[in-house]
Symmetry: D4
Subunit: 221 residues, 8 copies
Amino acid sequence: GFARLDLHRAKRVGFPEVIYGEGKTVEQVVMIFERLVTNHNVVLATRVTEEMGRAVTAKFPSAEYNKRARTILWKKNSKPVHQGYIAVVCAGTSDLPVAEEAAVTAQAMGNETKLICDVGVAGLHRLIDKIDLIRKANVIIVVAGMEGALPSVVSGLVDKPVIAVPTSVGYGANFGGLSALLGMLNSCASGVSVVNIDNGFGAGYQAGLINKGMDPSYKGE
Amino acid sequence: GFARLDLHRAKRVGFPEVIYGEGKTVEQVVMIFERLVTNHNVVLATRVTEEMGRAVTAKFPSAEYNKRARTILWKKNSKPVHQGYIAVVCAGTSDLPVAEEAAVTAQAMGNETKLICDVGVAGLHRLIDKIDLIRKANVIIVVAGMEGALPSVVSGLVDKPVIAVPTSVGYGANFGGLSALLGMLNSCASGVSVVNIDNGFGAGYQAGLINKGMDPSYKGE
Amino acid sequence: GFARLDLHRAKRVGFPEVIYGEGKTVEQVVMIFERLVTNHNVVLATRVTEEMGRAVTAKFPSAEYNKRARTILWKKNSKPVHQGYIAVVCAGTSDLPVAEEAAVTAQAMGNETKLICDVGVAGLHRLIDKIDLIRKANVIIVVAGMEGALPSVVSGLVDKPVIAVPTSVGYGANFGGLSALLGMLNSCASGVSVVNIDNGFGAGYQAGLINKGMDPSYKGE
Amino acid sequence: GFARLDLHRAKRVGFPEVIYGEGKTVEQVVMIFERLVTNHNVVLATRVTEEMGRAVTAKFPSAEYNKRARTILWKKNSKPVHQGYIAVVCAGTSDLPVAEEAAVTAQAMGNETKLICDVGVAGLHRLIDKIDLIRKANVIIVVAGMEGALPSVVSGLVDKPVIAVPTSVGYGANFGGLSALLGMLNSCASGVSVVNIDNGFGAGYQAGLINKGMDPSYKGE
Amino acid sequence: GFARLDLHRAKRVGFPEVIYGEGKTVEQVVMIFERLVTNHNVVLATRVTEEMGRAVTAKFPSAEYNKRARTILWKKNSKPVHQGYIAVVCAGTSDLPVAEEAAVTAQAMGNETKLICDVGVAGLHRLIDKIDLIRKANVIIVVAGMEGALPSVVSGLVDKPVIAVPTSVGYGANFGGLSALLGMLNSCASGVSVVNIDNGFGAGYQAGLINKGMDPSYKGE
Amino acid sequence: GFARLDLHRAKRVGFPEVIYGEGKTVEQVVMIFERLVTNHNVVLATRVTEEMGRAVTAKFPSAEYNKRARTILWKKNSKPVHQGYIAVVCAGTSDLPVAEEAAVTAQAMGNETKLICDVGVAGLHRLIDKIDLIRKANVIIVVAGMEGALPSVVSGLVDKPVIAVPTSVGYGANFGGLSALLGMLNSCASGVSVVNIDNGFGAGYQAGLINKGMDPSYKGE
Amino acid sequence: GFARLDLHRAKRVGFPEVIYGEGKTVEQVVMIFERLVTNHNVVLATRVTEEMGRAVTAKFPSAEYNKRARTILWKKNSKPVHQGYIAVVCAGTSDLPVAEEAAVTAQAMGNETKLICDVGVAGLHRLIDKIDLIRKANVIIVVAGMEGALPSVVSGLVDKPVIAVPTSVGYGANFGGLSALLGMLNSCASGVSVVNIDNGFGAGYQAGLINKGMDPSYKGE
Amino acid sequence: GFARLDLHRAKRVGFPEVIYGEGKTVEQVVMIFERLVTNHNVVLATRVTEEMGRAVTAKFPSAEYNKRARTILWKKNSKPVHQGYIAVVCAGTSDLPVAEEAAVTAQAMGNETKLICDVGVAGLHRLIDKIDLIRKANVIIVVAGMEGALPSVVSGLVDKPVIAVPTSVGYGANFGGLSALLGMLNSCASGVSVVNIDNGFGAGYQAGLINKGMDPSYKGE
Ligand SMILES: Nc1ncnc2c1ncn2[C@@H]1O[C@H](COP(=O)(O)O)[C@@H](O)[C@H]1O
Ligand SMILES: Nc1ncnc2c1ncn2[C@@H]1O[C@H](COP(=O)(O)O)[C@@H](O)[C@H]1O
Ligand SMILES: Nc1ncnc2c1ncn2[C@@H]1O[C@H](COP(=O)(O)O)[C@@H](O)[C@H]1O
Ligand SMILES: Nc1ncnc2c1ncn2[C@@H]1O[C@H](COP(=O)(O)O)[C@@H](O)[C@H]1O
Ligand SMILES: [Mg+2]
Ligand SMILES: [Mg+2]
Ligand SMILES: [Mg+2]
Ligand SMILES: [Mg+2]
Ligand SMILES: [Mg+2]
Ligand SMILES: [Mg+2]
Ligand SMILES: [Mg+2]
Ligand SMILES: [Mg+2]
C-alpha cells in the first residue's frame, strides 16, 4: 500500500492516527478510513472535501461528516465523555471553520465542548457577557485571526490553560496568519500556548489531552 | 555646514524641523539647536544622550531636558495650549520612554497630554478604571510592545482616533517590535493608524496635528 | 445565527459595525445587512462582490453599490455632512479601488471627500498642480503602491494629518505591498500614520473620525 | 510610582503578577518585590541579574536566587505541592537556563518537577533511557534549540500534553530561534503547543496551570 | 533554436544536461529530448506533465514515464549499476513524489535505490523497524516536510552521509517548506547536507555522485 | 600569503582590485596596499579604520585618508579626469559617510564629483533649488535611508541614469536598510538601478564606469 | 478620464510615459495608446496580454506586438539608433521573456541590442564562447533566476556597466526571485547595479539611458 | 555533571561527539575534553576561544590548537589517512576561518585536505588556474559569502560532489549569510548540497564521511 499506518499509535499516545485529507484522493481516504475502522474504536479525518464526506458516509453510515469543520468522525459506541468541558472561543465568524475543527477533535477524544463565537476584542462587552461560561471550562481554546489579541484578553480573566490558534483570516500585513501567530506567541498574559496557523485539530487534540488528564475518574486507555 | 536646515518648514507644515540626536555629535546638536533657536519659537530635539542634555541646557537654561523621554525642549514663551487633551496610554512600564517621547512632542506643539500607564490587556480592569479619562481625550496615543493588542481594545471603547505605537519591548519572536507592529496594522477595531516601531515622536506629532485641527479657536500658524 | 452582531457599537464608538464581505456568502451579507438596517441610520458593507451588490440593492433600493470601491452604502436620510473635506490622493490608477473604498467610508461617516488621482512622485508637477486643493483639506488620505513615497512628499508640503495607505500594486520585490508599507512607516516626514496594506476602509474611517472631531458644530452622536 | 501592579491578578488567574527583571533597575525590582511580598503568599521574579539576586535576598533572606535560571523565588510557607510531577526535558546543555526557568516557575505554582537533560535527537538512546520517567509525568515541557525536533519525538511516545519551548541556541540559519520555533509549530506529532522563543517562564506557567487542574484534591485558590 | 544545449556537460561533469519540464511546452520537451537522445546514452526529464510523458514515450517507446515522480527516463542499454545502494527514506505519504524524483534520478545515474516510506518521527518504531536496511546503504536521502526532523534522527543512527530534502508539505507556519528547510540546515546531528525545497532531483543527483565515487570498480566516465 | 591578489584585474575590468578593510588587520591592509602600489597607478581601500588610515599614510605620504568616507586613496600621478561630472545627492546628514565613499570611489576612477546634501523629500524646495546642478550631471548617485524615496523623485526630473544607494539610516521597521532597499527597487520612476545597502563604493564604481564610457575622448585603459 | 497621463514626461526625462498593461482592461490600453500616439514619436506598452496585442495592432497596424516580451511598440519613423550596442545576456531559456522585455525597451529608446541566451554559470564554456561579443557592448544587461550568479561572473570579465535583472525563475527557497535578487545585490564583482525582480523593462530603460549618454553624436532630445 | 555525553556515538556513527565551545566556560571545555580523551582515539573541539586553546593544550600537550579555525584537535596515534583528498575551496580571504574549520574537521576524521583560497567568481582565471587540483579531489568543499556563487561555478566544472558552505561575510542585504545560503540552495548546477551558514564543521564532517566511504581499503570503524 501507499501508506504504512501507525496502528500502534493508540496504544502509545492514547488516540489512533488521524487522517489528513489534504492532497489525498477520495479513494485513498476511503481505504485508510476502512483500515482504521477495523482496528480502532474511533476514527477521525480532517481537511476533507465534500466528496470525501459523501464517499465515507456512504460506506460507513454511522460516520458523521461536518461540512464547516471539514471533518468525518466515526465512533464505535458512544462512550461517556470526560468530566467538565472545553470552551472553544472564537473572535470572528470567519474563524468558525477552525474553531469547529477544534471542537470536533476534542469531542472525538471523549470531551464535551461549548462554542462561544464572535467575541472579538473590538467589542469587549460580548466577551464579558460570556465570561462565566468560559471561566468554568477546564481548558479554553481561543481562535482568532488578524492581530490575534483575544487569547491575551481571555487568559487575563481566567485561571485555566488557554490553547491559542492563530488563523489566516485577514489580509495585507497579516501575511497568511503571521500577525496572529506572533501576537499569540508574544502574549503578555501567562498561561497561553500556541499551535500552528489554522490548526484547529492541534488545539482540539491538546485541549482534549489536558481535559482527559484532569478527569479523576479516568484511568488511562 | 554639515547640515542644510529646512528653516522654511515651520511656514510650510506648521512646526520647525526637529533635531534627531541619534548619530550626531554633542557639538552638532548644540550648533543646530542654536541655529533653530534663532529662527523659531520652539525647538525640540529627540533621541538625545544625557551629555547632549547637559550641553544644551548649559547654553540655553530655559531648555528642558527629559531623561526618560530622551528629549530637549525649548519654547520662547508659554503660549496657551490648544483646547482639550491628548491621552497617552501605555501597556507596560517598559513602554514608558516611548510614551514620554510622544507626550513631550505633543506638548511642544501646544497640546495638553495625560499619561495613563501600565494598563496592558492581561489585566483589563486597570484599563476599565481609566476609561473615562481616555474617552474624554480628543486623540488617544496607545503605546504597546509584545503582541500590541492594547490599541484594538482601546479603540473598541472610544469614538476618537487612536494613534498606535508599537515598541520593541519583548523578546524572541517579537523580532524587535515586528509582532506589535503587525498586531496594530491588523487591528480588528476601526480608527487605528500606526507609526514606526518605538516612534513616540511620530505619534506625538500626528496626535498634535489632529488636536490642533480640532481646536475651533485656532486660526493656523 | 452564525454571527453575534455588535449592535451596541454605534453607541460606543460612534458608527455601527461594518460588514466585511470577504469569505461571506451572498445570503449572509443580505441577512446581516437587513439586521443592521433595522437597528441603525447608516449601513456599510465593504469587499463585496457584484452578486452581493445586486442582491442587497434588490432588497434595499436606496442602497448604493459602488463597483470600483466594492462597497454597498445605505443611509436612512441624507444628514448634512461635517464641515471641511477630506482629500483622497492616489499615486496611480491601479490604486483607485483602495482610494474609492476610503472615500466611500469617509462619506458614510458624514464627510465630504475630494479625489485627486494619478499624481505619483515620478511626475511631481502633477502633484504641485493640485497642492492647493490638498492643503485646504482637514485630513489627507494618501494611497500608493510600489515604493509608497507619496505620503512623505505630501506630508512635507502641508500642515494637516496624513493617513497613508500602502497598496499591493507592483510586483517582484514589492512582496504584496510590503515595500510600500515599510516606506510609509519609515517616512522622513512628520505627520504620517499608516493603516494595513490595501485597507482603504481603515484610512477612510480614521480620517472620518478626525474630521468629525474637527467640526466645531458637531456635538457627539 | 512607575508601575501600577495588578494586585488583583492572583484572585483572577490564580497566581500573582510575576516580575520581569529585563530593563528594570535593581531598585525597581527590590521595590516591586517588597510590595508583592506584602500582598501575596508567593513572589517570583524572572530574568534577574546577579546584582538583583543579591539585593533581593539581602532584604528577604528566605527568597531563593537561582543563578542559572535567573530567578528569585519567595514563598510564605512551604505549601504541599499538587499531585504528580511535570517533566522538564531538554535537548542540549545550552538549553539549561531556559529549562530551569521553566522548572522554577512550575515549582513556584506548587508543582513538583523532574529535569531530564541532554537527550537531543542525535542520540536517541539517551531519550529512550529516560522515557519511563517522562511518560509518568502529568505534563511534559520540552526545551530545544537548533531544529527543535525533540518535542515531536517525545510527543509521539507519550499520552500527555507537551509544552514546547524553542530556544535561540544555534547560529546562522537558526535566525535567533526561528528554526526551532517553526519546527515546533509544524510538529507532525499531536499534543504539542508552543510558547515564545526562550520563554521558559511561559512554559512552566502553562504546565503548572495544567497540573494544578489535574490534581483532584485541588479546590481552587 | 530557443535553447543552447550544454552537450559538452556529460564529459565535464559525468552526466548529460537534464530537461527541466516546468514552463516548457510539450513540443520543446520533445525536441530537446530528441536532441539529447542523439548525443547521449541516458536522457532524463523532470517536472514533466502527463501530456509530456505521453508525447515523449510515443516517440521513444523505450523511455519510461513515471507519473508520481513526474519524470521521463531513457537509457541506451541497461548498464550494470554501481555497487551498493542508496536508501530513499521519507517521512509521510505526501512526500512521495519528491522521494520518487530522487530515486529515479539516482537510478538514471546507474545506482540501485531502496525506498522506505512513511517513517516520520511521530512513530519512531516504524523507523527502528527499518534501520538495518537504512544503515547498510552507502548514502541516505531523507525527505520530509513540516518540521523536517527526520534527517536529524536518521543521521544520529548511521555512519553514512545523509542528503536531506525539505518538502513544502504542511500549512500555515511551514511557509512553503521554510520550516523543514531551516530544521534540516540546523540539524544537531552531523553528516547532513541539504538541497532546495522539493528538490528530489538535486538529492538524487548528489547521492548518485557520491555512490558512484564509492564504487571501487568504477574508473570514471 | 593569506591573499591571492587579482593583479590581472585592471587589465580585465579597467580598475585594480580594491581593498575591503572590514575584518582585516592593520598589517594586512598595509601589506596589500604596498603590493598594489607596486603594480598599479591607483590604489583604493574602503571601510578602513583610523588606525589603518594612519599606518598607510605613514608609509605612503601621498595617499589620502578620508575619515568620513573611511577610505584611503593613492594615485601615481594626477591624470586629468573624464569629461562631465557625477552628482552625488544625499537625503540626510546621516547618509553622508556612504555618499562620500561613493564620491571618493568615483574620483579614484578619474571622475569629477559634486556633492548635494540634505535634500530629503520632506522638504522638496531644497531639492528644487539644486535641480539644475543635478540635471547637468552625466550620472546621478542618490543616497537615502528610511523610506528611500529620493531616487524616485530625482529620476522623475532628469534624463540621466540614477544609481540608488539605500542606507541603514533609520530605526524600527527600517530593518537595517530593508525599507530603503525595497523602496528603491520598486521605484515608480524609470532609470533607477540599485546597489547593496550602505554600498557607496559600489555606486561610485558603477557611476564611474558609466561616466568613463560617456567620455568621447576616452580610448580604453 | 480614469488616468492623468504625464504628457510632459518626454520633455523632462527624454522618453514618454510607458503603458503598464497589468491590471488594465483592453479598452483602457487601447485608449491610452491612442492618446500617447497623438502626442509622441514612440509609444511602448509592457506586460500586455495577447488580446491587448491584437486590439492595439488592429488600430495601429504599424505597432509591433511581441508575444514573448509581452510588449507593443509603435514608432513614428525609424530614427537611426545610437552608436554601439547593448548586450542582453540571459542564464536560462526560462529567463527569455524578461530578457526580451529588456531588449524591446532599449530598442524603443533608439538602441541596438544583441541577445546572448542560455549561458548560465553551470556551463562556463558557453559564456566564454560569447565573451567577445559581450565585451564589445557599451552596456550589458544580465538576466538570471535561481542563484543569480551570472552578473558577478560577467562583470568580472568586462569593463562595462552591468545592469542585473533577477528573475522569479526557480522554486522552493528561491522565494519568488528573492534568492537571485539578494545574490545580485551582494555581488562580489564591482560595476553591477540591480533592478526589481522580473523587471526587464527597468533594465532596458536604464541601459538605454546609459548608451544614449555614451553616444557622442547625441545632442539631447 | 552538567552534560550527559553521548559516549556511545563513535560506535553508532563512526566518530565521537564533538565539543561545541560557544557558550561553554573554559572549565567545562577542559572537563569534557578530558572525559572524551579517556574514552576515544580522537577528540575535536570547535568554536573555542584562545583561552580554551591555552587551557586544553596545557593539560594535553599533544592536542593542537588552531587559532584561525578556532579548533582543538587531539589524536591518540597518527593513523594513516583515507585514500585521495578533499579540496577546500574558498572565495575570499574573509571566508578562511570557516574553510579551516572544515579542513581540520575532515583531517580529524582521517582525511587529507588541500586548501585553495581567494578564487572568487569576480576573477575566474584564479579558479581556472587551480581547476586540476580541484577536479582530482574526491569531494569538494566550497566556502563563500556575499552572493555565494562559487559552488555553482565549481560544480559545473567537476564530476565530484560539492558541499557548499555559505558564510556570513558581507553586509547590508546579505542578512547575516542569507544571500549566500539562498544562492547555494538555488544552484543551477547539479551535485551541490548545503550546510548551515558558517558551518565549516558540518561541511568537513559530511565530506569526511563521503571520502571515508570512497576508500576501498576502509572496512568500517
Ligand atoms: N525621534 C524621531 N524619530 C523619527 N524622526 C525624527 C525623530 N526626531 C526627529 N525626527 C525627524 O528627523 C528630521 C531631522 O533629521 P536630520 O536632518 O537627519 O537631523 C526632523 O525633521 C524630523 O522630521
Ligand atoms: N520571563 C518572562 N517572560 C515573559 N513574560 C514574563 C516573564 N516574567 C514575567 N513576565 C510577565 O511580565 C509581567 C510583568 O511585566 P512588567 O509590568 O513590565 O513588569 C508579569 O505579569 C508576567 O506576566
Ligand atoms: N527537478 C529539477 N530541479 C532543479 N534543477 C533541475 C531539475 N531538473 C533539471 N534541473 C537542472 O536544470 C538544468 C536545465 O535547465 P534549463 O536550461 O532551464 O532547461 C539541468 O541541467 C539541470 O541541472
Ligand atoms: N566597500 C566595499 N563594499 C563592497 N565591496 C568592496 C568594498 N571595497 C572593496 N570591495 C570589493 O572587495 C574585493 C576585495 O575583497 P577581499 O579579497 O576580501 O579583500 C575588491 O575586489 C572589491 O571588489
Ligand atoms: Mg463579528
Ligand atoms: Mg506591568
Ligand atoms: Mg499614471
Ligand atoms: Mg550534548
Ligand atoms: Mg503517515
Ligand atoms: Mg536634515
Ligand atoms: Mg539551459
Ligand atoms: Mg580577494
